[in-house]
Amino acid sequence: MNMLKIENLHARVEGKEILKGLSLSVNAGEVHAIMGPNGAGKSTLGNVLSGRDGYEVTAGSVTYNGVDLLALEPEARAAAGVFLAFQYPVEIPGVNNTYFLRAAFNAQRKARGEKEFDSMQFLKLVREKLKVMQISDELLHRAVNEGFSGGEKKRNEIFQMAVLEPQLAILDETDSGLDIDALKHVADGVNALRSPDRAFLMITHYQRLLDYVVPDFVHVLADGRIVESGDKSLALKLEEHGYAGLGEGAAA
């Protein structure tokens, strides 16, 4: 069974059809890169999978571990192991980063019928993850993303992912707006989390993230559909030739 099976997905935003029959299968342990030009529907895919309001699915299905993912509330998807790293992480003044993360962590455990962590247990876990992610614990004491630099926000997303340990991580343009050092840090974080039980869907506009996080599969998303799929060499081909002219064979 595929971990994630997207079949013929059609979705609209504000009445406009963005996804037009997207199909994709992802197995545990795989890293898939979704590439494509602006407006192709890349972010829409991430938002539909994570359950954001305002995205209307008009046809098709998304099955996650045998369950109809689209029928679940966003919090239930998270508890089931789906994680979206936001393209634009939200600043939440007044909510402490650690407090927020523990609330999320325990809410997920509670939803799965697992015992919640007390603050000591949780702190221990956070310390371990900090070491792996090479993030300063100063970020933990601040309000969620408030006053964070672009790089800090993206690293905070990856740090949250490390703590929440999802089965399916969707990275929505996590590389955008990062300088090369920040990009490497983010990539190191992702690589540290690669495992046979976990799958990644990396949505990106540029090939450069894929130099650091090497994907098993690369898909080209154009005009709401996957128009070409291949291995990592496809990304290099895109880098060389651009999106123009690609996928003509598949789209026919």
Binding site: S50, G51, R52, D53, E73, P74, E75, R77, A78, A79, F83, L84, F86, P89, V90, I92, P93, G94, V95, F100, L101, A103, A104, F105, A107, Q108, A111, A143, Q160, L164
Partner: protein, 439 residues
């Protein structure tokens, strides 16, 4: 203009026998206030100060004055117990002093804490000036001040608190006003007189709470005077029963370099109004207020803040948050006047409001009048809803919708309690805020 029939409320309050003090000037003042109240009646919403708070429904009700059984009402100590607060305590139940619930043994030197009735009994003369007029600040002939009139006519009890010059009281003093269920619907009235001498320091906790669900009307009028360099840390927790109407007026007068810091939580009550007035009459005086009003159900909570800067280099900061849910209504007026001559004053006011339901309403009205030079002033008010992007962010991490809303709402209110120094109390009050949120 034809004279309408007197409202049941006015009639019932007028008909109640006035407390007899046996003190000629006091009895005269009470009669005068009662007559003024009866003549003025209740203001309607055409009166600016009552524009958003209608007294129509309250006006149709009748209340009996005084609770004969007040001394024997069973009130659990848990009704008013607060973490981090274990000092002198004065407790009133249905407007009656309760020695058995109070803690007045071993008061620190320099602290006077007594029920007003006792002071009136022992020697009323020093209070003559204060009690001959309805309240410390403001023109009480204004139509809106009807409840101060009722209070001045009817209150025979309250708090008498004095801190002698130079005395710094270490333990917080707790003033507790409890409404308890009686055989009839009661009206009760309390009059508080609080004075901090030069350089005195006090932490004060004022609690308005209920035992069970009494349907009653209470009025509480407080005069607070801070002499030169006095420092008051005042925390107000208003969490009365949902059937209670509570009308308060607090007047704070600050002399040179005096500093008052107020933290207020307005959570309970059916119809609640607090007129909070401050006059900064001495150079360098400072008045800081932080407050949250959080009505839900069909509650109506109205806070009227009026600050007058009257001396050089005075400062006021006001940070208020309103959160209304269901069909509730919140009202906030923040009026700051910088009077001629109050040069170098600094006044800032922020009132942000959150509507958690489409049927909730908050009316906010910041007002700023400046008649002095070199004044720094900033004020702003907003009304909005929870940010959808933030809600989705929290939910996408696994936090259920209700919890996400509670978390964001608590965060919205956080600025109000942040600088409350008593940590145990701060945690407790934060918890009360969260408990008020919809599950």
């Amino acid at each position: 203009m034809s004279q309408p029939a007197p409202l049941p409320l006015v009639e019932s309050l007028f008909d109640a026998p006035l407390p007899a003090s046996g003190i000629a000037w006091l009895d005269a003042a009470r009669h005068e206030n009662r007559a003024a109240f009866a003549a003025g009646g209740l203001p309607d919403t055409r009166v600016e100060a009552w524009k958003y708070t209608a007294l129509r429904a309250l006006g149709q009700r009748r209340f009996a004055r005084g609770d004969d059984g007040a001394t024997s009402r069973v009130v659990a100590a848990s009704t008013f117990a607060l973490p981090g607060v274990d000092g002198p305590r004065l407790v009133f139940v249905n407007g009656v002093f309760r020695a058995d619930l109070s803690a007045l043994d071993a008061l620190p030197a320099g602290l006077t804490l007594q029920p007003l009735s006792q002071v009136l009994h022992d020697d009323a003369e020093p209070l003559r000036f204060v009690l001959s007029r309805p309240a410390l600040i403001g023109d009480t002939r204004e139509v809106g001040d009807v409840f101060t009139r009722i209070n001045a006519a009817s209150a025979a009890e309250g708090v008498m608190l004095r801190v002698a010059a130079g005395v710094k009281v270490a333990a917080p003093v707790q003033l507790v006003f409890v409404g308890a269920v009686a055989d009839v619907e009661l009206a009760w009235h309390l009059r508080n007189v609080i004075e901090l001498g030069k350089g005195a320091k006090l932490s004060l906790i004022e609690q308005h709470v209920s035992d069970a669900e009494p349907a009653q009307l209470a009025t509480v009028v407080s005069d607070i005077e801070l002499r030169e360099g006095a420092q008051l840390h005042h925390t107000v927790l208003q969490n009365v029963a949902i059937a209670t109407s509570l009308m308060r007026r607090s007047s704070v007068r600050l002399h040179a370099r005096a500093h008052a810091m107020l933290h207020a939580l307005e959570l309970g009550g059916a119809l609640v109004r607090h007129d909070l007035r401050a006059e900064l009459v001495g150079d360098g005086a400072r008045f800081d207020t932080r407050g949250v009003f959080m009505p839900h159900g069909r509650q109506h909570i109205d806070t009227q803040l009026a600050i007058r800067h009257q001396a050089l280099n005075t400062t006021s900061t006001s940070t208020w948050r309103g959160v209304a849910n269901d069909r509730a209504r919140g009202v906030f007026r923040g009026a700051i006047v910088v009077a001629p001559g109050a040069d170098g004053s600094d006044a800032s006011l922020s009132n942000k409001n959150l509507l958690l339901s489409p049927s909730a309403e908050i009316d906010t009205k910041p007002e700023l009048e400046i008649y002095a030079d070199e004044v720094k002033a900033a004020h702003g008010a907003t009304v909005g809803q929870l940010d959808e992007r933030s809600l989705f962010y929290l939910r996408s991490r696994g936090i259920p919708l209700a919890e996400a809303r509670a978390l964001l709402t608590a965060a919205f209110c956080r600025a109000v309690l942040d600088d409350l120094p008593n940590e145990a109390l701060r945690e407790h009050l934060s918890g009360l805020l969260v408990a008020q949120l919809p599950a």
